[in-house]
Symmetry: D2
Subunit: 394 residues, 4 copies
């Protein structure tokens, strides 16, 4: 699969092309709009959010309500574009710390910082969520579920304890801060309101799960094919994400080896190999283990703060405070569907590599025959092997 | 650039092909062997390390001691391969939790777990370090330095305080646990010895810096071109790395926006735009800012522990403890050059994208003219722009 | 650069995303529409052509009339889409020989052949011509010209003799069959009219030139980087192109080596190394020589003929003649801009690899300093070299 | 799949890494050496050929005689390397017309032309033939056969008439000029001997077939996925190939549409859709039709001729004749396995895309269930479809 996007924050539209889908997947824009709406919900969002009311239009790759195997193109018009048409916009010459303003100006030689921020803006994530919606929908045909929730906002960390995975997803979906725990939910809500009043912004941690993932997706064969690497790239490509861990990686770094891994047990009844824990985050050797995939992303607070920060006016050469561009106060709840989208993209691609084929009918059939983590699928021959012949004559 | 590796842990050799180097870079195997030796030093290494004594041989891409622009091939013979030649090896049928044993068996349908572990083994990182040595050497021609150190092993975290970056690198290089702080150094040393006695293994945190990096490398243009994403993929592709952050990402997630970014100041004397802090880890919008690049990797403890873990014998269907395959007790100090190698690879690629060109002479000339973070390189035009014409007639 | 397209022949629109352009290139939709109009001109075109009147809209990557370095998105609405909206279309179950109908049905498991033909249709080339227009425009900033003409239609072959390259392009542009030679022009015109009357279709040969190409673009380093390979892929990806040669390749295959190459001579006045002939088509070792690039493409006649061909109705299992889908009688003149577009895409990509950099200002500066085919740029050191040291110690 | 090579003509060795093979393919170096030997046979070869006697060594990706799914690395030592070790070699400063000498010097800024020719030399094709041998071997597990023969050398064109495809391959293999027709065989043999005496070189045409190819490989979805494009890139990447056609493309360009395609007929007995002709070369819409794939490559005569050609000494600035580097007189017979290798590589990749999966057992099972060109595999639903709903609400 290839997914690429185009479009600026206030330009006419965002466009995504998603390539590599099998034919025969029922798909309409409602499936995409549902995820776009999820991306727009949440307290802490700025006034921009209400403007958006995104609505996707499928321009290619679907005929008669099903995918054809051709590349999918999705158009999301920018609703406030009209206001920018024909309008002379004051130049932006004071780069905001933490945003791409200064780096893009150096890279591209801009004489106004706006072109940099227009493309760097997280508005672009709407295009990704659209593509991710299709990937989630594809995965769901195989029973796979991708869902996420907030585990920290600012100084507040959420305790999910032993709450079952699917309950976490369901609970988070039911509140405006996407928090699975009711106690933390209220605290986060209050903290965000306080940040709004205080003219500040807040970052946090998002956890995304993929459930019912079959074992054997991804590869240990080449470094760039490991699923850890590909998830890392996908999630760290999100505008405010600066850290990622698979499972409890940063915690595991401090735990002895005998306690940091997931013992293998046998479910005698059906010969399934199970793991009572999931410290690996569902990945061993860059390959799915069949356990839930657990991806945790660290989001920095949005760089655009109502309270000015120190900067320099490049036009005058004077040290001045930053001005304000419209933005969210806390984007963390709204970013959950974005992280989900990027995880779903990687997972869909890995699934299609495993299954090959060109139509949903082919894929569903092949899916049933995949080897699983169970004894009967893994016959061992039990005899010694000469792996490298004497004399190097291989 | 493309870098791919081949080879198994006990096969005849490891091979790397590194493509995309400019012509005219002086290069000999000593440069590579130096880094390979760095990868083999460190207490906590298992008996394997002493066997290795890796020595690289350049098979292509260098003539008369300089690169030609052709793909570089590096061969690293496995010194203990001879012992495996013609020898019948007992089958491995008890998958080790945390290793790729079970996942690769499911993926590939192996009837003996050895083929999986042979390729999944971190022995492969020698091939990466070889390629990384060349990338570091290339970067050094432009004054760029890539170096790293250990900031945690097991429960011990290192306090580097305000120690200058280059001092951290120098100090770490001088001791067997690659720790920049003498106090922590001794504690880590003791902890590793305790793990050896206790037949356990230890993970930790590695910090890798890139110094003297010019601003403007990487891109915010497409998600998969952001340097955060590419560093994420490169570092998370390392066998035991399961988490990564750029700068203080996980800490920043808990800090308000007004305190989480790097204010921009003016060095009046020379018109340089400077940043007293480096919370961004040297990257804004997926592009280098000109500040030090800071990459932090979380390494799980090695899965192969002398103390057995719970598993299942796939040949007999019985729950049994794992056996032991030769391995390190604490690989964290030895993994520093591996993380450095992957960071150097990404950075070298980004540099070559920026500079284009085919020979060192071309590149060095172009390098001098790169726009920098200084006022004189960033003339702003200061007038309002109509970015999108009325009527959508763009 | 990456260029991908989406969209069906009668769907809402075609979309192209073109990635990798430098910032600072002045660009408006007029430049694109000009090429789209060129693609629609020419006798032998079917009724479809008049419907199209394509008009591009830039959705991303351009602000204030110049590129920003962000991915360019171009939308080309399908003007006759409205007629297809909400309309139940009779199923197509008789595959046309020579079209993708049968192959796509087998590949994707379609139950109606229309989804296959919708994407396989040469309508998609409008999206490529749009991207190619931008690439040609980029190349023109460096003085490079890409232009083409028809050298054969059906049984008529054009004799261009010694006509200067730029005159060929100019003359071809001035007539409806894009033929540089007035005699052949009339004959081709007559032949096409005869094919229309005879309800048949005609293929032919197109020659595309790139003039003022600097030496040293492309690479001999890896097989897939050779410009011959990349031009081959680009041109053979065009819907009806089934053959390609660089220079006089098929003729050269029959000529002795002493006569098949381009002698190197010295223009004493300025020290330039020149080639009185261009049998190589401007490429030696996969790299441009600085002479005109000559690409010749063989186009099969369009598969959709008013005179039915033998086929089988997949719904009834009976051998039946094919029906008719609206199409051109001779697409060769109209295909000239398509071949130009694909050549321009490859050349633009090779140029950007050579120059690197992110803005037009950078690129233009670097362009001036490229090594050329002249003595003063190629100092030879004239002493013997030891390329591989004794003992293999490299 | 990825295939990359490294190594110079007289350096220590050639190396290929071939990535993406499934696990479980029985493979030993004999299979590779067989193809390497085929590449070394044939009259018209220069003295170099006898030196070579290539022998491959597998360094990675195979354990116990079967592939593991890990990347394959193949080493082919250069037997005459020893003579070059430690030896000071006279500089080459007179570029040979038709070779990469001048173009690489301009590209890379070399001060001696040897580095350019060392990598540009067709010696590198040994590495491709090694990888191709593995691909052919993989394809053969599915009953697919890739074979080729010479259809022209210099002015002599071979008439294969109606000779069955497999007979062509078998006959060509039995003689030193790889010609399927005994009459032409003798004429070609004489012509080559005449070229040797006349100190000249000869090019020619090679035809490579792939038999028993299933329908539905490749894609019409995106331009760069069409099999025509991918075959074009692969074959035009071969050092002396400058033209390619799929089927009778250049001839088809002159034939009316009603005669240029392959009618579809029904084999009533078994419901198979057959094609009495194969003008398409086995590809419609960039996808295999199930008929034989026919690839024809035009090879220029080798640029290095014993009879000198006009050139310029870059060291002295004088017009001088070229000197002689050891080379073949007619490489066409020897190049047959090279073209086969590149066709096999593309085909193997397309097959693996279709089948997905990670082990031979999986792939063979899936292969049996592929849709074929037969009525029962292609049920049409026969009812009208609304492909695009009214109101654009897709």
């Amino acid at each position: 699969m290839r997914m690429i996007t185009s479009g600026e924050s206030h330009g006419p539209a965002l466009v995504t092309i998603l390539e590599g889908l099998p034919a025969g997947l029922a798909l309409d824009q409602g499936i995409i709009n549902h995820e776009l709406a999820r991306r727009q919900r949440g307290i802490g969002a700025g006034p921009r959010m209400r403007i958006e009311q995104d609505e996707a239009r499928i321009l290619g790759g679907v005929m008669g309500g099903v995918t054809t195997g051709a590349p999918l193109a999705i158009l999301i018009p920018n609703r406030d574009h009209k206001k920018w048409q024909g309008k002379a916009v004051e130049p932006l010459t004071v780069p905001r710390p933490g945003h791409a303003d200064l780096a893009t100006a150096i890279k591209y030689g801009y004489r106004d910082l706006r072109p940099g921020l227009e493309r760097a803006s997280a508005r672009e994530t709407a295009a990704r969520v659209a593509a991710g919606a299709v990937c989630k929908h594809l995965l769901s045909q195989f029973g796979m579920i991708v869902g996420g929730y907030v585990t920290a906002v600012g100084e507040i960390s959420v305790n999910v304890g032993e709450m079952p995975y699917s309950e976490r997803i369901a609970r988070a979906e039911a509140n405006a801060v996407r928090c699975p725990d009711p106690v933390s939910e209220n605290a986060i809500d209050a903290l965000i309101r306080q940040a709004i009043t205080g003219k500040d912004t807040l970052g946090g941690i998002i956890e995304v799960l993929a459930l019912e993932v079959p074992a054997g997706l991804g590869s240990n064969s080449q470094w760039d094919q490991r699923l850890d690497a590909r998830l890392g790239a996908a999630v760290l490509s999100i505008q405010s994400v600066k850290g990622i861990e698979l499972g409890s990686a940063f915690e595991n770094a401090h735990i002895p080896g005998t306690h940091a891994h997931d013992p293998i047990r046998l479910e005698s009844a059906n010969g399934e190999l199970i793991r009572p824990t999931d410290r690996s985050g569902g990945l061993e050797g860059g390959i799915t283990t069949g356990q839930p995939l657990i991806v945790r992303a660290a989001l920095k607070p949005i760089a655009t703060t109502l309270t000015p920060q120190n900067s320099v006016d490049l036009a005058t050469g004077l040290e001045v405070p930053t001005g304000y561009e419209r933005s969210d106060f806390c984007h963390v709840p709204r970013a959950v569907p974005v992280v989900e989208a990027m995880v779903a993209l990687v997972l869909a691609e890995a699934l299609l590599e495993k299954l090959g084929g060109d139509s949903m009918a082919d894929l569903l059939l092949r899916y049933k025959t995949l080897r699983r983590a169970r004894l009967s699928d893994l016959p061992m021959d039990g005899t010694p092997h000469v792996f490298w012949p004497a004399g190097g004559s291989q």
